[in-house]
Each structure stands twice: as C-alpha cells, then as structure tokens.
Assembly symmetry: C2
Homo-oligomer: 519 residues x 2
Amino acid sequence: MQYSESLSSPFRAVNPYNGIELEGDFFSANPGQVDAAVKSADDAFKIYRNINKDAKAAFIRAIANEIAALGEVLIQRAAEECGLPAARLHGERGRTIAQLNMFADQVEEGSWVEAIIDSAMPDRQPAARPDLRRMLVPVGPVVVFGASNFPLAFSVAGGDTASALAAGCPVIVKAHSAHPGTSALVAAAIVNAAKITGMPEGVFSLLYDGNSNLTGQLLVKHPLVKAVAFTGSFRGGMALSKLASERNIPIPVFAEMGSINPVILLPEALDERAEQVANECVSSITLGAGQFCTNPGLLVAVKSPSLENFKAALIKAVERSVSSTMLNSGIFENYCSLSENVLSLQRARVLSRSENINRDGRNQAVAAIAEISASDFLSNPEFKEEIFGPWSLLVVAEDIQQMQEVLEIAGGQLTVSIMTGANGAGKYTSLLNQASEIAGRVLMNGMPTGVEVCHAMQHGGPFPATTDSRFTSVGTTAIKRFARPVCWQNWEPGLLPDELKNENPLKIWRLIDKQWTKD
Amino acid sequence: MQYSESLSSPFRAVNPYNGIELEGDFFSANPGQVDAAVKSADDAFKIYRNINKDAKAAFIRAIANEIAALGEVLIQRAAEECGLPAARLHGERGRTIAQLNMFADQVEEGSWVEAIIDSAMPDRQPAARPDLRRMLVPVGPVVVFGASNFPLAFSVAGGDTASALAAGCPVIVKAHSAHPGTSALVAAAIVNAAKITGMPEGVFSLLYDGNSNLTGQLLVKHPLVKAVAFTGSFRGGMALSKLASERNIPIPVFAEMGSINPVILLPEALDERAEQVANECVSSITLGAGQFCTNPGLLVAVKSPSLENFKAALIKAVERSVSSTMLNSGIFENYCSLSENVLSLQRARVLSRSENINRDGRNQAVAAIAEISASDFLSNPEFKEEIFGPWSLLVVAEDIQQMQEVLEIAGGQLTVSIMTGANGAGKYTSLLNQASEIAGRVLMNGMPTGVEVCHAMQHGGPFPATTDSRFTSVGTTAIKRFARPVCWQNWEPGLLPDELKNENPLKIWRLIDKQWTKD
C-alpha cells in the first residue's frame, strides 16, 4: 500500500477535451519502490492467502463501498482525465462496484476452488489407494496494468484486481498514465478498505509510470511476481508477454489485446431489417468513441440489393453521429493516422464519415466506415488490423463461402456476431461452427459491445485477441487466472485446508469419490 | 492414421540389456508426411468435435480393449525395447487401460465441460441481460510426444493422448525413438478402435523421428496444431516451449520436465523409525531404476543422532539393492556422467553406492546416495539439478529454518513429501505452507513415486517442474489442457450445443443462475 514519490520530475494529467493540465503531481516509481512494493506484496501473501474466505469477501465488499463513498469527486476526476461523459462513468462505476461484490459473493460461497476428494482405499489390490485431496490455491503477487479505456472497471479496482484479490493474491497496480488522479482516488479507497477490514500491509499497492514503461517492465521481471494481467494494445501485450517468458522462471501474462469483432450480416437479416441492423451497428461502433475492445470493426455481408439498403442506412446513421472526445491525444492521433492509412491503401473506400465535429473540443473522433471487397480483404492482410476508435470496415463477399474465408483470415477474436433473419440460422451450420472456433464469445442478433459481467461470460479468445484463450478477464471465472491446483496426499486431517476437511466446514460443493455434493 | 515411410534409411530399436538390434524397420517422417498428418487431423477435428459424447467414449474404451487384446506380444516388445521387467509392464498396461476407461467415463458423464448458464433478464434496469451460456470446447489437433520412461502409460495411448481424445481433439503422436515397435503396436490398436467405432480418418496418427528432432519441430511449428503435450527433460521441454512461443500464433506446450521431489525427514520421523524410513526411501529411489519423474532426488534432514541411524540404514539398503537396466544407453550414460560429476564437485561425498552389478547386462545402473551439508547445497545451485536414475542427495541441515532455505532454493517441484512422527506435523506450519507453495502435490508419510490416476491427482508443479503449473498431466483434470471456454449469447436455442440446451438432454451438472444442478 504505497504511493510512489521520487526525485524525478512529476507528471500531471491532461484533460483531453480542452488540453488543460489538471491539478496533482504524480511521480514515476523508482526501482527501489518497485522492489519494495513487490516484497511487501509477497510478505502480505503469506498472511492473505490464509485469511478465511469471509474476511477476504468483507475486504472486497469494503472496496466497493469505499469507491461508492468517493461520490461525485471520482466521477468528476475521471471525466476530466478521460473525456468520458458523466453518464458513462456512473454506469462504469456501477459495473465496478457490482463486479467487486460479485467476486466477494464468489469468495464467500467458496466452491470456486474446485475441491476434489478421492478417499483412501486401504484394501485395494494390487496396491492401496492413498487419500487424495485437491483444490486451487492462489499463485502469489499479481501485477495489474490499468487500462486506458475503462478508468474504473478495468483499472485500479477493476476486474483484474478484484479477481486476483478474490483468488487470494496481493495486487500491485501499474497505474495508467492517462488517469493518475482517478487511480489515486480508487487506490485510497482500496487502502481504506484494507485498513478497515484488517488486511495485511502490502495486499495492494499502486505505482505510477509517467512517460516510460520502466515501472511496468521492472514489475513484470520481478522474481516475486507470479502473474500479470493487462488490457491494451497488441504491441503492449506482446512486449510484456515476451518479457515474462524470458524470465528465469517464466510467468503467465493474461493480455487482452483487442479484436476486430466481426459482425456477420446474413442475407436474411438484411432482407428483413436492413435499416434496423445498420442503426444497431452504428450505435455500437460509435459507443464510447469506439474505444471498446469489443467494438465491431468488421462488418461482413454478401452482395445483394438488400445490402444496398443496408449501406444507405449505414451512411445516414454515420452522418447523424457526432464526434466525441477520445481518451487521450495519443489514442486520437493513432485513430486518425490508422484510419487515413487504410483509406490510402486504395482498395478500401470511405463509405461514410461523419462531419459533425465539435470544433470547441480537442481529440474529437468522428465515426467512419470504409468498404472493401472480400477478395481485396483476403489478399491484403493489413486490413484486418484493429483500428481503435469509431471505425468499421464493411467487407462485401460474393457468397457465404467467401464470407467464411474472410472469417478465417480475420483470425482469433474476442467475439463474432451473427445477424440472422426471423427463421434463424439453421442452414449456416458450418459458418456457426467456424465462429465458435475463432472466438471466445459468439452472439446472435446483438452487438458485441456491452460485455455482461456474470458467470457464463467469456471475455477472451484465440490469439491474437488474447495471449491465453483458456481464460477470461470478465466474469467470475476470471478468478481461475490466479490460482493453480495442489493435491494433498495422506495429509494429517487437522492440517488440511478447511475446503478439504471431511466435515466440509465451509459447506462448499466438492467432487467426492466421483459425486458432486455439498455434504 | 498413418505410418510414415520414406526414402530415408530405416532405424531399428535396440535392446538396452543386451545391445541386440530388434526386428522391424522404422522410418522418420518427412515434412510432407508431417503436413499430411496434421491436415488430416484438422479435417478430422471438424467431424470429431461434433461427435456425441457416448460415441467418443466408445472409441476411447475400444482403444483400451484393443490394447488389452494385443496380449503378451505388447509386453514382450516393450520389455525388449525398454529393458523393463514384465511385471512392471503388466502394471503399466493396467494403468494405461484404466486411464483410458477413466477418461471414457468422464466423457460419458459429460460434466467436465463446466457448463454455465445465466438466463436472460429482459426487464432488468438499466439494461436487459442477454441469455449467456458457456462451456469448454476442444482446441483442435494436439501433438503428443511419447515419453521414454512410460512406454505404455505416457506414450502412444497414454494419459496425454487419452485426455486429448476425451476433450475432442485429434492427436498426432511423435513416437519416442527408443520404443518404436511398442509404439507401432499401440498405434495399430488405436487405428483399429477408430475403425470399429466409426471415427474419422485422421483422428489419430503416429509419426517417427529416428535420430533427429526434425519431426517434432515440424509438428510444433505446424499452423494447424493447437497444443502440445510432452514429458521428458528440461532441455527438451524448454526447446519445444520456445519453438511454440515463436510461432506466428503461439500455442501452449504442456511440458512435464522433471523434479527432484524433496523428501523432508522431520526429526520425529527419524527418532521414531529411522530404519523404516530409510528402507522406504531406497525402495522409492531404486523403483524402475529411478526412472520416474517423481523419483525422490533430494532427502532433507536435520543433524541429530537419529540421522546417523537413518544414514546407517540407508547405506545398508543401498548396498542390498541390485543394478537394473536403464531404458537406453543415452539415459544410462547421462546417469553415470551426471552422478560422477556431482561427486567430483567435492562438496558432496558418496554416502552409499551399490556394488551389485549384473555383469551380464548392459546399461546397468546402481543406486547411489550422496551427502552434502545444507550450507554447501545452498551456495552451489548445481546440486539441485535432477539426475535421472536411482540417485538421491541427502542434504543435512542445522535446523528447520535451514531446511526451509533448502526447499526455497530447490524451487518448483512436482512433489514435496513430509515424513512426520506419530504426533503429526502441527508445529511445522510454516514448512507445510512452503511445501504447498512450491509443489503440485504434497504428501505425508509416503513416497512420491506411484502416482495415482484419479480425479484429485495433481501431477504438475511450479516451473521448472512444468511449463504450466495450472494444469496436470495425470488424472481427469488433465482434459482441461485441451479445451477453452466459449460463450454463446442469445443463441438460437435449437442450435446450441446439447450441453447448453434448456432441457439438459445430456443430464450433466451445470451452474444455472448461480445454482449447481443436474436439472
């Protein structure tokens, strides 16, 4: 639980809408502070891992309460730092709090440890079977990189932090440099919660890193760090992943690196409701200035008269849309240059670009949709790169077969959405199978933005969407990233973890001798 | 389902006991054959993944039956190729068959897919919740490397193959070059089983690689391969892991790379039963010529008069032991040179080495135990390297604190065993916690060899014991290595996988709206 200060010059946050520097000096952590934070987390781990589940849940719930107690100060600071509207931030705060409470519930319920007991069979021939008991245990200190696009829900006390704390792992957060003030407010809430609930010093720390990546690199390389969670760019995720794999003892990096989230527009959908689908697409593309990892960056349709209606509606909807402030000037400049770059490739042409620019504000992104033929898309892999912002590329295929070729080239994705007609998608089995092979989540007749935080969510997908498609960063199963199984054989009964004791004092679900039971 | 033949010169197996070349020519696969096998596996995947669970289970059960039907021919060939006694091979065949049937049971039961359903809440405020359903799906073609030390249970139809097929993944096995004839017999059994049960061509293939690693490398680099399972040396596992991480689309390598499996001899254990413990240790060390990944390569004790009794008993037990044939000359030569090398370091001294060498046989390994002080062990990390064979190193600590330092330096392990006195280990909490932090399995009053194949087993542990401590290569949860979650959102009910349909046609356990149920 520490804030970094150093002799280096301070940095400040900048309001992306008006370019004005905000109050508050922040200091990049120096190597000594990084080391101290990790060592403190490792010390805390020895205590925190053995704290009972109700106390852990109380801590996580207290974080939610402390964040709520920050009130409008938090919303206002986040709005100033990130250029996001207050309504969106209220929603995001609600999600952050709900997600902390969800993990607290999960910890309290306790069955997530996957307890399995195989009883001894002393008389078995040819050899006795020993008593074997297995459950998940926390891995140790976890480093979380705050994401720029969710200053609350995927930053200091976001899903990664909540799930790591729930698993029993101390957390060191590397604050995103674009919202240091928001980070400080939330960190203070966590520190308060830890104090109120008697958690060990070091169970949570926040470190800053102004304009370099040094703090993050030192954290990932620190021998006592056991896992890393990151949401951001492909380049950033891969750099951390490489660093982690080159350690003497490699550790996992759960990097969610983005996706172009193909939306498959089946002919029947366009025949039946071209305009409605177009409006849904544009709403999703422009939501939050398109700064979501699930932004639908690829629309795939088959050539048809209905497609022309869809395009006409798409054009209108884009034209109606107004510019919005991007998170920071770096993201805005990237959006401009990447989208310009695609259009300069000459195989894509602008289908529609909004001209409703707020001239009073800086970093104003306008929605744009380009069009390309499937054959040009297939032969030019650069078109499948993600463009972070209110952007999408409409790929026009000759037939369903070519649509599937487009999906195949698009590769690993967080989501694939299928827009169907009223009679369903029964005749497109091959396409549907393909969607579930390349994505972590497949949707029908809905847009991929608006990721539900629940048990059944899978937010993750085959590379390059994430570094590890076996895990999710959203939903209760996100906790599995920070745990590993241990088996106790013939252990002294009184020294077993409570989860594995015969009398099941925690009343959790367990697989005992092949039967699931709460007894 | 193919056997490689090529224009390259054939290789043959050699009986390690008498050095005689065995009948049967085998050919390394050429790059075209590797490509064909993987493409065939990928084609098979599209069919096999959608085959219903009972048919998959029938296939896996048929493999077990076909292996049993091979009868003594299999045992004899394996004995000739591996120098292992028939009794051991009968036991290993039993384990192989039991493990196939266990995975067939698991597939038939069906709940391993971790189905989770969160029902739609159309009236929820501020936004409706969509219908979300999640389960594990197979990843695709898996490459399995046959292990030398388990020619049946961790080779062609061993635990890796069984769990991958159970998950719904086609398998391409790279045969271990030391037992090609055994591999061919078992592969034929699998191919027969596939034919009998109507499985798609390509669901299983076997490829050879005589004296190079080329076949294995080509397999790991092939774009259609989705995961790799390997049991073998640290160097081998790391080389494959590096190759896999350098692919355009990295894939996981589940490498079980060995361990020195510390056995902690608590003072009370030696006070109460020094001789018994010594005999148990030597039995475990010499079992199967010490060629188990769970061989206890490190004994850790505190200086005491009882320790002297233990050492005396250890010496006697080692002297009584007789040499046994190692798996092949490469392993034997490694054993000789590594054990000699440790002794030449001058800080370790031979405590006991058997002189009962079978002079009629080749590749005869004798048991040896060396002794070193904890302080010398701590300052010379080379002593923690695994020596594959009937070898162990007794580390003598000054006190329990130093014992824990030895454990810390020893690092990630498959197992840690604790030998306690009759009053238990209640006063050694810190040591017990440490054991479960560094190992995948912790045992009391038992030896780590003899890995039980069951639900609660965890055979895996922190690096360098394995590349991924979150998974196991033994027991039912091994299936999780070859699957990843997918979430279906608002999917057309009739097109959902059976596991996720409302009526639960497969009668599996599911988490529906936070409640575990079979309804």
